[in-house]
Amino acid sequence: MPSSAPPVAISTVELTKRYGEFTALDRLDLSVPRGRIFGLLGPNGAGKSTTIKILTTLLDASSGSATVAGFDVAADPVEVRRRIGYVPQLLSADGALTATENLVLSARLHGLHGRIRVARVSEALAFAGLEAVANKLVRTFSGGMVRRLEVAQATLHRPEVLFLDEPTLGLDPVARKTVWERLRQLRETEGMTILITTHDMEEADVLCDELAILHQGRLAVLGAPEALKAEIGPDATLADVFVRFSGAVLDHGGSYREVRESRDTVRRLG
């Protein structure tokens, strides 16, 4: 029922997450209109995954509130789950199952049965371009194939909002562009709202309509890529914006490393 859905797909009010003394997310206020591709940037440990986990109901906030697709994540988690898709930071399709089996499992857990399920699963395989390997074990797939499968898997039930945590991490340039195309396609055809996190400045620049840069759990800046660049100077790149607002320095590749301290990346999955 996209027409009756509220115009704001994601909103957070003073959203805060503390781990003991440590504040991972500090009074975040965000509002993402429907149909946007929204990018969440920030150095390692800035709180991007934490934000996504709260919005996908995996994690409880310490204080503040968030609504997704019109429902409060704390009060109505099941209603939120019916309306969202999620692609985690690490490749996490089940390698011991085939592509079809992964899709069927998700479909069944979303209450899709019978002919609808069969149709959706074959659509998803086509969408992911994996028809030829539909019955191969996922552990034999390349990273790009797994990511395409995961995007298809997360959108089987036609969610209103799709969350992707670093969807193109570790993908080659071609695989990366394929994922972008899939995401744009979902936005065009389904009017899906998409929130991604990324360390990839090009991805943020060309894919996202709007960006938020987090730094140490706080919202450092918010705006369209063009507007953010214009604010810094006439020839500024997004990398310049990033450096300015996050206190990080960039490597030549367009990714960056933290200046202050090296973060505990073992925790990446949390």
Binding site: S92, G95, E101, R108, L109
Partner: protein, 259 residues
């Protein structure tokens, strides 16, 4: 759709995926069968010879066979926690948890898969028992009772294992705790010796040990002349109660794996 039907469909989806994985990896299933073979073939044979443990009219090997079946159920079900931690590290748990499926259905589905796996394992133990000429009862009712016991027992110990995994969350800690928990469960049960032979404190432990009730149910049904300390209804009643309790606890903790 009724929530009840939804629950079973979701659990069936999880169980189906699990069983597919198990079918692809029969070596794992078979390697878990090695242990009961050794217990029966070596320990059982030797103790039958020396008659060190008084088991009434029963040969010790016959007495022990249901205990070893129960043990093999316990030992393989307890590995479920490792698999769950593995799935957590891979982010598979997170993916299941963002679906609207009932959390209890996700846990129940795993338990069903463990139950089915237990049945395959029981078939292997039966095979070994036949080879060693254990006096097995083949009437339909006793065989079905054993199957039911094996199924429920597997559900109990796999869910227990999942529950522990939700608490400890890392493989290293789980390995440590798994050992610490399974051995006492095994020895404080009637798997290897009649409860009456135990010192009082151990008997008290055995009385609250679900494995004792599983062994009782199996011993009363699997072998010719076997008797159970508890009535069959009592054994199954207690086992189902324990399972319901563990299911409730594990379902409460399972979402915490994503944190």
């Amino acid at each position: 759709m009724s929530p009840f039907l939804e629950f079973f469909r979701e659990a069936a989806a999880v169980a189906d995926a699990e069983v597919r994985k198990l079918r692809r990896d029969p070596t794992e299933l078979l390697s878990r069968a090695v242990q009961p073979v050794l217990w029966l073939a070596v320990f059982g044979q030797v103790f039958s010879q020396v008659r060190g443990i008084p088991t009434g009219d029963l040969r010790y090997l016959d007495f022990m066979a249901p205990g070893i079946l129960a043990q093999s159920i316990l030992f393989s079900a307890i590995f479920y926690g490792i698999a769950i931690i593995w799935e957590r590290d891979l982010g598979i748990v997170h993916k299941l948890l963002v679906t609207p499926a009932h959390r209890s259905a996700l846990v129940f589905g795993k338990a069903i898969a463990a139950g089915l796996r237990g049945l395959v394992q029981a078939a292997v133990v039966y095979l070994v028992a036949i080879l060693l000429q254990v006096h097995i009862r083949w009437e339909p009712l006793p065989v079905l009772t054993v199957a039911a016991g094996v199924f429920v027992g597997s559900c109990i110990f796999s869910t227990f294992s999942l529950f522990i995994a939700c608490i400890v969350k890392t493989r290293e800690r789980f390995m440590g705790i798994g050992q610490v928990l399974t051995m006492p469960l095994f020895f404080a049960s009637s798997a290897l010796y009649p409860v009456q032979l135990m010192p009082g404190w151990l008997q008290a432990l055995a009385a609250v040990n679900p494995l004792t009730y599983l062994v009782g149910a199996l011993r009363g049904s699997m072998i010719v002349g076997g008797t159970s300390v508890h009535a069959l209804g009592t054994s199954f009643g207690i086992m189902l109660l324990v399972f319901a309790l563990l299911l409730a606890l594990a379902s409460k903790l399972y979402p915490g794996l994503a944190r």
